[in-house]
Amino acid sequence: MATMAQAIRLALHYGEENLGVKDIFGEDVGPPLGGVFTCTQGLKNAWNSPLDERGIIGCAIGLALSGCKPVAEIQFSDYIYNTIDLLKYAGNTLWRSNGIWPVPMVVMTPVGAGIHGSIYHSHSFESIMTHIQGWKIVIPSNALDAYGLMLSAIKDPNPVMYLIPKALLRSQGEEKIPGEPENPKELSKMIDAPLGDRSKWKPNWPDMQPLSIPLGKARIGMEGNQVTVISYGRMFPLSLEAARAVAEEGISCDVIDLRTLYPYDVEAIFNSVKKTGRVVVVNEDTELTNYGEHILRRITEDCFYHLEAPPLLVAGANVPGVALAETLEQATVPQVSYIVDALRNIA
C-alpha cells in the first residue's frame, strides 16, 4: 500500500488533474527534489519558490483571490511562525469583506517530532493554528486519510491547513487508496523518482479515483467503553498501541482519531465521553495553552456530570523545543509507555 508521502502526492496529482490545482509550490517543492519528503515529486504543477515563507503565504492568498486553488507548502512548520499575521489575514479576509472575497487555498506543512529533527524540525503547530479563525485544519494519521483529506481540503472553499505528521510519511497504509495498484513496489516504480539524474524522468501516474473523507468527521480507531482516548496525527497510532496494551489488562478504550481539528467532531467526542465517563487527550504539542485543553474544556463544560475521573492531557513538555539527543526527545514528547500509564491511572 502507498506510504503517506505517496498518498499525498497521489492526492495532489488528482488535484491537478481533476480539481483545478495549478500551483503546488514552496521551497524545494518543484523539480529536481519534489519536496524534502518527496510529497510533490513528479507533479506537473509543482514549482520552487524563493526561500521566503512570507512570500509563499502571500502568493498563495493572492492566487486564491484570483480564483486559483493553490497548494502552498511551508517546508517545516518550524518555519511557519513568521507568517502568522498572513495566516490570520487569510482567515479573516472573507469575514472582513462580509463575504465578498473567499480565499480557497491549502497550506501544507510537516509537524511533530520523531525523526531526530532537533529543535527546529520537531515543532507542533496545532495549538497556535487552532487559535487562528477562519481556517479548517486537518491532520491525517494514515495514508488513506492523507489522500481523502487532501481531496477534501482542495475542494473546500475556505483556507485549509493540512498538517503532515512527518514521522509517518514513510509508513505504509493498511488500506488501498482508490486507484493505486495492488502492489506497493509497482506503485513505487511508477511514481517514485530515481536516485541520481532525474532530468529525464517522468512519473507514470495510476488512474486515481475520488475518495470522500468529509472535513469535520472523526474516525473511531478502536471501540471500548471505559476510557475515551482522543488523539490525531502521529500520536494516534501510539494511542492505539497503548490502548491495545491496556486492553490485555482489561481496560477497554474508545480511541478517536479526530482527523479534522477544526471543525472538530463534537458529536463523536461527547458521545464517547458520555459512554465512558473518562477521557485522555493525547497530542505532542507543548502543554501550555494546548489545543487538547480546548477539547477538555468543552467536555468539562458539556459532559461534567458524566465525568467519573479527572480528565487528562498527555502532551509535550513545556520546554522551548524537542532536543536532539534521544534521551531528551523521549522525555519531551509522549511515548507509548506514558500513554499506557495515563490509561491505567484514569481507568
Binding site: 524563493p50 521566503d52 512570500g55 484570483s66
Partner: protein, 339 residues
Amino acid sequence: MAKKKTTLSVALQKKIYGLMVKSRVLEERLIKMNKSGQGFFWIGGPGEEAFNVPLGLLIKKGEGLDYDFLHFHYRQSATLLTMGVEMIDVIRQMHNTATDPYSKGRNFVNHYAIKEWNVVNVTTPIEVQYALCIGTGVAQARHKGKGITIVTGGDAGTAEGEFQSCLLWASRKGKELPILIIVTNNRWGISTSQNEVHPKTNIAARGAAFGIKSAIVNGNDPFESYAVLKNAIDIVRKERKPFLIEAMVSRLYGHSSASGSNWVHGETDCISELETCLKKKKILSEENIKKIRQGYEDEAKQALQQVLQEPKPDPYSIFDHVFVDRKDSELLWPRWLKQ
C-alpha cells in the same frame, strides 16, 4: 506645475479636477463625521488626489484575470471614486451601518472590497498587500491577458520585509510578474519622519537592485502623474514585467483622526495648485470652482442624512462569513448569543 504643458484634453483636465474635488469633499465630510461622533475613526487620502485620480482613470476595471487586480492601502478614496464608487457607500462604512457594502460595519472607513472590480480588501496591517499581490501577479503572468496587478502603500511601510518580497518575486529571471508597484511617499509614518529612519537613498532606487525599472513622480501634479502612470502601466501591460513608481505626495490632514485630523500647514495642496493652473489656463473660473465643490458638498450631506437613518448590523451577524458555509462557524457560540 502651472507652467508645464500637458497633452491632456481640456475635458480630461476638467474631469480630473472634478474628481479630485469630489474626493476631497468626501474626505472632509468623513473628518467632520468623526469629529461630531458619527464615526469612530477616520483615515483617508486628502493630499493624494492628484496622483490617485489619474490612477483610477488608467485602471482596466472589471472582474477576473483579464482586468487589473488592485491591492490598495487606506488613502485611495480618490482612485475608488474615480472608478465609480458612490459617496454614500463610503459614508456608510464610516458610520458602520448594516448597509456598508464593503464590510457591513466591521471595518474602518476607506477599507474597500469590491469583487466586480478586483478591489481586494484594503488592508489595515501595513504592507501585507505587497505579499498578496505576488499571487495575483503569478496568476496574471500565466493567464497572459492584458490584466495587471497594481499595489499601493506608504513610504514608511517599505521598511517591512514584504516590500522586498514583492520586488524579488516580481523580478525572478524569466518569471517576471506584471505588477505596478506604487509607493506614495508623504515623508511620514504617523509621527516619524522619513529622515529619521530611512537611508539617504530614495525608495525608487530599491527597484534597481532587482533590475526593476522605476520612476519618481511629483504626485501633486495630476498631469505629470497621469503621464508617468500611463507610461508605467503601458510597460507593465505589454512587457509583463514589474515597474516601481515612487510618488511624492502630501498628507494634508495628518495621519488619521488619532492624530487630530487637522489641516497641516506647509504641505502642498494639489487642489489649490490645480485651481490656480486651470484658472490661469482659463479652463475654469472661480465660479465654476465654487459650483463644483458645492455640488459635491450637497451630495455628501444628503448621503449622510440618509445613512444616519440606516440600521446598525445585527449582533448575530458576527458569525456570518467566517466560513463560506455559516454552519462551520457554529461549532462554538458564546453563551450570551442565544441562537
